[in-house]
């Protein structure tokens, strides 16, 4: 009896999912897929990415589409779960038959999805931070955000200019924080940096005064670096001020590059430095800056459509989408292989994250100049005066 019930149920479930799968591609449209962490612990990254993709695909379609074809955007929410992301990746390839993918909010879900796209030979532009996404280079995998290694280098460069070489670190134990911490430890010797103390906190911790007290009581620490994202760095920054440590220069990472960080950390954020894309300081860029036009337009469009402050995370999705669209135009084709070849030839693409010059050995195409060193002053981002 029970088995029959099961069978009926399974068949019904099967039939239901068959019914939900779409029919053949409509004439004159191409499908672009995306798997994002719109919910879950990384939703503050995934949500602006989701909104950006939807906003700009609508804009592109309203303007006539790409090479005469409208874009149909298929977005799935992995909830921050890499296994789920992997399933949705298979769904995009096998069921939706997308020609390319812009997505993968976290490094964890990106890494889980890479085998699917490599095997299907469909281009995948990732929005995740860690360097392992593009190093070693995989034929079909690209990414738009600066790597965590670059963030460490940018911070250490700035520290070196200020003649500070003995640092303390406090990192989140989430994927972003742990990966950036590892990169920082690795490149520190290249810049003559000495890490005197290396602390960490859980991604959901609500009080980091214990770790910071240890750093405070470590003799010789000249600056503190906090790789992390989410609400953690905001709490670290508040605790930093609470413990009266603000005389020691404090560096955040590009993981906090949205206005909400300043808002959450409040006055404690004053004087904090971080490497981030030009997008955050669009209005303060000189007119001659090549990125000025792109970043102010994106900021304006995003903020008026969503009523939320712009973040570099949404900017990465913007860059990914337009690198893809430009490549599709150049290839004048919907063949994934041809699109891939054109993505790799991207040169001089001006995005929110920097000027992108890709090659067969570089699937990111950004150098350290794409990062600006910012300092929070008067509750706003400012370009830091180097060497001060």
């Amino acid at each position: 009896m029970t088995s029959k019930t099961t069978l009926k149920f399974m068949l019904a479930a099967g039939a239901l999912s068959v019914g939900l799968s779409h029919g053949a591609l409509a004439q004159g449209t191409v499908k672009i897929g995306s798997v994002l962490s719109v919910t879950g612990p990384s939703s503050f990254l995934g949500e602006p990415e989701d909104k950006t993709l939807r906003l700009y695909v609508d804009k592109i379609n309203a303007a006539g589409g790409v090479a005469g074809k409208k874009i149909e955007l298929v977005i799935y929410d992995d909830g921050g779960d890499a296994n789920k992301a992997r399933t949705f990746a298979t769904r995009l390839i096998e069921d939706d038959e997308v020609i390319a993918m812009v997505g993968g909010t976290t490094t964890g879900s990106t890494m889980a999805m890479i085998p699917v796209f490599e095997e299907a030979q469909v281009p995948f532009i990732s929005l995740a931070g860690a360097i392992e996404v593009i190093d070693p280079v995989r034929k079909f995998v690209f990414k738009t955000p600066h790597t965590d290694k670059m963030a460490c280098e940018k911070i250490f460069e700035d520290l070196k200019k200020r003649n500070l070489t003995k640092i303390g670190m406090i990192s989140g134990t989430d994927g972003f924080g742990a990966s950036m911490r590892a990169q920082c430890v690795k490149v520190a010797p290249n810049y003559g940096m000495q890490i005197l103390i290396d602390e960490s906190y859980g991604p959901r911790d609500s009080d980091m005064t214990a770790q910071l007290t240890k750093i405070k009581n470590t003799a010789g620490v000249q600056a503190v670096v906090n790789p992390g994202f989410g609400q953690g760095p905001a709490i670290v920054t508040r605790n930093y001020a609470q413990l009266g440590m603000t005389a020691t220069p404090f560096y955040q990472s590009h993981g906090v590059a949205s206005k909400s960080f300043i808002d959450l950390a409040g006055p404690a954020a004053e004087g904090v430095r971080l490497p981030a894309a030009a997008l955050l300081v669009g209005d303060k860029l000189p007119e001659s800056d090549p990125q000025k036009k792109v970043v102010t337009e994106y900021k304006q469009a995003y903020e008026s459509a969503t009523k939320q402050p712009v973040s570099t995370f949404g900017g990465h999705a913007y860059d990914g989408l337009f690198i893809l669209v430009e490549a599709m135009k150049r290839a004048n084709s919907t063949d994934p292989q041809k699109i891939r070849d054109e993505i790799e030839k991207t040169k001089g693409f001006v995005g929110t994250g920097g000027i992108v010059n890709m090659s067969a050995t570089d699937h990111l195409g950004l150098d350290l100049s794409a990062f600006r060193m910012l300092e929070i002053k008067g509750g706003d981002w400012n370009l830091a005066q180097s060497g001060s």
Partner: protein, 315 residues
């Protein structure tokens, strides 16, 4: 007794027929992928159900064994030079050993205290996995080498559908048989009343430990299968939320019902896939469905529905 044997064989036959027939209605490999996930979750849940449904002991940290199985096949070939198939058995052995070692003290605890102790064990294992990044790749996870058996490279959604389906059949067969052995009867006596079982001479501690070790091995094998199938693994699979998901599958499907665990896995794995059409209402609906299902089928889907059918047949 004969009826029982027949019932068991019938269940297995239906399951086998279903695994064989489903591909006929699958329009793309994506469906193979989802079905394989159902088989893997079902395998882990059947094991957990032996512990929860038959022996009556809760575990809120069972994903730890799933994680050990998964990371064994990831770490073994990558760092220790162990062939993938051997790593699978090594993982199962390691899970069994851990379950055996911690089982004795932990299983002395009762009810919610057992729940928190197993939860603690799960948190510890997950924490070690996500911290020791030299070995495990940290929170972002690590790649898993493909399984090769006698030169045959096991890859692709379709292949894994059959491999995991076969594993599930094997697991179901063992669980159904266990049900009818003296061990199985001892488990059920434990579930009904530990004191009563003790009084009639059941070695309570030994049987609880046996159930715990069996459940750990099931979870470990399921974890290894998932890791091979994905070619990638991350610490979420060993985490608290995955433990909760496994318990939910068992209870939703029906405590003590082997078929229930398969149905529970089918529901909980396919629901999020089906609910994607509702976008932001997805989680709201998932929660609502779980609540409503548990209120109206409080003994789980399979026992409640079959109870309903039997009653109707009798009246």
């Amino acid at each position: 007794m004969r009826a029982l044997v027949n019932h068991r064989i019938l269940t297995l036959l239906v399951l086998a027929a279903m695994i064989a027939a489903l591909p006929l209605i699958f329009p793309s490999s994506y469906y193979f992928r989802v079905a394989s996930l159902v088989w893997v979750s079902a395998l882990a849940a059947i094991g957990l159900n032996i512990l929860m449904g038959q022996a009556g002991q809760v575990s809120l940290g069972h994903a730890a064994f799933f994680g050990i199985g998964a990371y064994a096949v990831a770490i073994g070939p990558a760092h220790l030079g162990v062939p993938p198939w051997a790593a699978l058995f090594l993982g199962a052995l390691l899970s069994a050993a851990l379950a055996y070692l911690v089982g004795r003290p932990i299983l002395r605890l009762k009810g919610h205290y057992l729940a928190i102790a197993t939860l603690g064990l799960g948190v510890l294992v997950a924490l070690v996995i996500s911290t020791e990044s030299r070995w495990t790749g940290g929170p972002d996870g690590m790649p898993v080498a493909r399984l090769t058996l006698f030169g045959w490279r096991v890859a692709g959604s379709d292949t894994w559908y059959w491999v995991t389906g076969g594993l599930l059949l094997l697991g179901t067969w063992i669980a159904l048989n266990l049900d009818e052995t003296p061990t199985g009867r001892a488990f059920r006596a434990l579930h009904d009343s530990e004191v009563a079982a003790q009084v009639v001479g059941v070695d309570v501690a030994r049987f609880k430990l046996q159930a715990f070790v069996i459940a750990a091995v099931y979870a470990s094998l399921a974890g290894s299968a998932l890791a091979f199938m994905n070619g990638f693994i991350n610490p979420d699979q060993a985490g608290f939320l995955h433990s909760v998901e496994l318990v939910t599958i068992v209870v939703l499907g029906g405590l003590g019902s082997v078929v229930g665990s398969i149905v529970g896995a089918a529901v909980l794995v396919t629901l999020p896939q089906v609910l994607t059409v509702f976008h932001e209402y997805e989680h709201l609906l998932l929660g609502l469905i779980i609540i409503v299902a548990m209120i109206f089928m409080r003994n789980g889907i399979v026992p409640s529905l079959s109870g309903l059918l039997f009653r109707r047949a009798r009246s």
